[in-house]
Amino acid sequence: MPVKGIKTVSAARNGVGAFILQCKRLDFHYCNYGGSSRGMLAFLTQTLPNFARENPQIEIRVSPRHSKHPVIRGHYINGREKAICVRNLEPKDILTKAMILKDASGEKLKAQKKPVTSLNESVRGIWSPYHGDLRGV
């Protein structure tokens, strides 16, 4: 007897029932010596504790990376990661970059023309010439 795969009953649609933020981890890398990390060091001491408190669902890791530019790296549920270099940025700008990573879905950036994508079948069905009334022109 051939092995049959189990047919999926439903696809995961985040947000219909429960909502799970797609960003699961943010890594903050900085350098203690480099001048491009100056804003990042200020951010880590001043802004990051509040940011972490407001987003308890995100794991936050801070680690030094010697003689490299500071980087924020986001890890997502779908397994991908996104990194933004924040060299020479002010703490305020670094916060906006962190917000970008927090709100992102983790997918690759795509151009999309149609606003709505649906997994559901068409509600009204497919039009057929053989059904329904005849209509005059």
């Binding site: 985040n14 797609q22 981890r25 972490a52 408190r53 709100d103 992102a104 709505v116 209509r135």
Partner: protein, 265 residues
Amino acid sequence: MFSRSVFRGLAADLRSFTPISTSTAAPLRQRAACFHQTSLLRTQQQESSSQSSPTNPDPPLSASPRAQTSQPEVQHSPTVPSYDPSSPSSTPKTRADVPLAKQPVAPAFESPLEVSKSLLSRLPHLVGQSPHYIVAELHARPYLLTEGDHVRLPFLMPKVKSGDILRFNRATALGSRDLTMKGSPHLDERLFECRVRVIGVEAEPLRIKEKTKRRQRHVRQVRSKHRHTILRVMEVRVKTPEQLLEEGAVVVEDSEDTSRIEARS
């Protein structure tokens, strides 16, 4: 049919009395609870999370359970409506932290909902036949939505955060396989409920457009990278005739400017 601007003015008058007492604010708050349950819903989730945090000895940098459930059962209005602007917290946790001037205004309807007899007689058939679709409008653009759809708005919606729940209140049509309820031109927002959840913000790939001027060898590159708000449709629901009558709908004779339900030909 109804104008919120009138009520907004009234609400502003209410707020101008600076020592606003809880007793005057309470009915307004309760109405807000029944119409805008969703905005309250989020605040409660945050409230519950903030309540749980002191019992939890974890340091603030550690991760905690991630899921937000969507339908909390109990809805209690916050007791302290005062707002302390001197507090250093950057984002409000509950409705109580939001200043009165910025709280959502419950829609005030000047007249009760008018439902024609034919609509009321056909409504049970529409309610019973699922799934439903809705043609909801946002900034005068129609979006044909069903439950579970993924919507990428053509703009970045301001002042929303991921996890927020919005309720669409402007629709031109709502239907099922065989029946469609059409507005003239819009359906009354008391006839249906359509909720969407803000999932996040996505960007498009960087666009580079080359600009040239005549007789110059220089080519200018213009870069743009738009950002879009992503929504997920949580529910599309028509109210039953019983619910409408319970909420104070008035049955009127059929006329041109009432909503109607049309069968598919």
